[in-house]
């Protein structure tokens, strides 16, 4: 995934594609600086193959937003999330199938072998976690708290040096005990990690390095500066957010 791709270069790539006209049809000759946002539900109206801007080996997930689920493909070469910075033996606890597959594949690319645990079989997960000497936990908003409670019985909390939690909305964010969490990432299955909670100001999220986040309209609109199988360009996420300057000096937004 290129980190130096500009918005206009990404738009030009999507406009000129010989594989898909998905964005061309949606934009209808709009200028690059006034492209209309795209609702997530629009993906459901167009089949997976008609949204492919490149052919690369990868994984396909079912995404459920609104009334009709749709398929979404991630090329393996695009799985590059920055989920861990010091841990190297993570336990993964995810409720959604996509996360339970995507996260270990992303970590494999960094030569990290993940343990894919489950809350439904705690005795086996605890046995494996203790024997692997896990040092980090990756979870979502529904699995983090019960997962940590499960681990508390057998592991010293000091052993877990990094806790990364993924949320999809402000409601999920506010349900978490954020002071315990090392990295809190706002993430959607179509976009990957969008933004990270500021380490100093614990309400404000900052965009990840290859993300453009717009929150001026009250809804978070995101662009991933990467040539994905289906690029993410001005995606209207449905996440209520408000732009805000952060005391750390970087631009950010808060989740409503």
């Amino acid at each position: 995934m290129s980190n130096d791709l500009s918005f206009s270069e990404l738009v030009a790539w999507a406009r000129e594609s010989g594989l898909s006209s998905f964005y061309r049809d949606h934009w209808n000759h709009a200028a690059t600086n006034s492209l209309p946002p795209l609702a997530r539900e629009k993906f459901a109206a167009v089949g997976l193959r008609a949204r492919e801007y490149k052919k690369k080996k990868g994984i396909v997930s079912v995404i459920r937003v609104g009334a009709k689920p749709y398929l979404w493909k991630w090329a393996l070469e695009d799985l590059q999330g920055d989920y861990l910075r010091s841990g190297c033996r993570p336990l993964l606890l995810f409720s959604r199938a996509h996360d339970a597959i995507e996260k270990p594949l992303t970590l494999f690319r960094k030569n990290i072998l993940a343990l894919n645990g489950t809350l439904s079989n705690p005795s086996v997960t605890l046995f494996a976690a203790a024997n692997y000497h896990i040092d980090s936990v990756l979870a979502d908003s529904s699995t983090y708290v019960p997962g940590m409670q499960m681990l508390a019985g057998v592991l010293d909390s000091k052993q877990i040096v990094e806790r990364t939690v993924f949320v999809e909305s402000g409601v999920e964010f506010r349900s978490l005990p954020e002071q315990e969490i090392t990295h809190l990432l706002l993430s959607l299955p179509e976009t990957g990690s969008i933004a990270r909670l500021c380490e100093k100001h614990h309400d404000i999220f900052h965009a990840e390095p290859d993300m453009l986040c717009e929150a001026e309209s009250g809804e978070l609109i995101v662009t991933r500066l990467a040539r994905l199988v289906t690029p993410v360009i001005r995606l209207a996420t449905g996440i209520a957010a408000r732009a805000m300057e952060c005391e750390c000096g970087k631009k950010g937004f808060v989740l409503a």
């Binding site: 997976l48 080996k57 994984i59 199938a97 597959i101 494999f108 690319r109 005795s123 046995f127 024997n131």
Partner: protein, 371 residues
Amino acid sequence: MNRIIVKTKDEWRAAGLTGLETIENGSERAWMYAMAFGSGTTGNPPMITLRHLNLPAREYQLGVASGMRGIPLFTRDAQVRMISPMLGEDYNDETEALILSTSDMDEHLEELLHDYRPERIGGFPTFLESVMSHAPQSVRDIKNMDTGGEMTSEGAHAFLRRSSPHAEITQTYSSAQTGPLGLSCAHLKINQYHPVPGVSIEIESPDENGVGNILVSKPITKFLSLERFPMGDSARSLPRCACGRSDAFEIAGRTDFDFIRIAGAVLHRKEFDRVIAALSSHIADYQVIAEEAREKDRMQGLVTLRIVPTPLCKKSDASGGWLGEELARLTFVTPSQTLADLIRKKLFRPLQIEFVDEIEHKFKKVHLLRK
């Protein structure tokens, strides 16, 4: 590092993570390995092992190994093991894996499958049945189907044959911890396999029917090998196969799950399937729990049948008395004696019936288990 040879589960439990440091120091690539852990459905103490995904050859991986659009219908952990070798350079850009879970089995599945257009589909036979029952014609016309991870019932196999008449169905005998062990050929019937390259199979202490415990020898990583390791499955050797190989074997079942020896009798899941099918007007689903109980100085068998009753059963036999007698009368537990015969001889206690609303099977249907 010298290779460790393990022959028992305790030895494997102690040595399962040998070689982990070679991944952490960067001399081995993480995606070629899996952390396989669990006790499966056995209820045995859990274990965790590092497994190399390329031993033996990768072509025996199910589902997505072939550079096609595949659907691996397994547990999440197994899906990761199927997919992660794709991170290597050997797979072309056409290789894809669709991640499906049981929560996707709804009215939208047909449309999603039509959109995906799989070329290959593989999984637990029970999971495959669920998916293929929702599949559009375009998916039913699939040419490549793999089954594995559990024994295939005659009913499941017949359903898959009917739903996808053009599919070449390849069966794999494998486990999470060992990976592929056996592979079917065009001449073998269901649950019959040849060992895959690098694997040797022995049948230990066969009974009068030739059925004994299956022992496996196989490298698991560069640092750990199984040698005559008891898999916990029962199997028998087969005569020379029409393909010319003389190493075919047939899995009789998971010891203690398809096949429980108790109080001088043998409970077969297939036999319970037969009897329950005959009483299907009264029984919607079932699970047999077998145990041994001491009565003074002698062991007795005790069988408890958990039953999801049909509306007719609730109406006509609320106590389960008639049903219990019928089940005991019809179920053979030796070649010539029924459960009722052994209850009369006090080798078994009277059959216990428990009515329940639901039996949770998750991915694998466990109809017979030892308490």
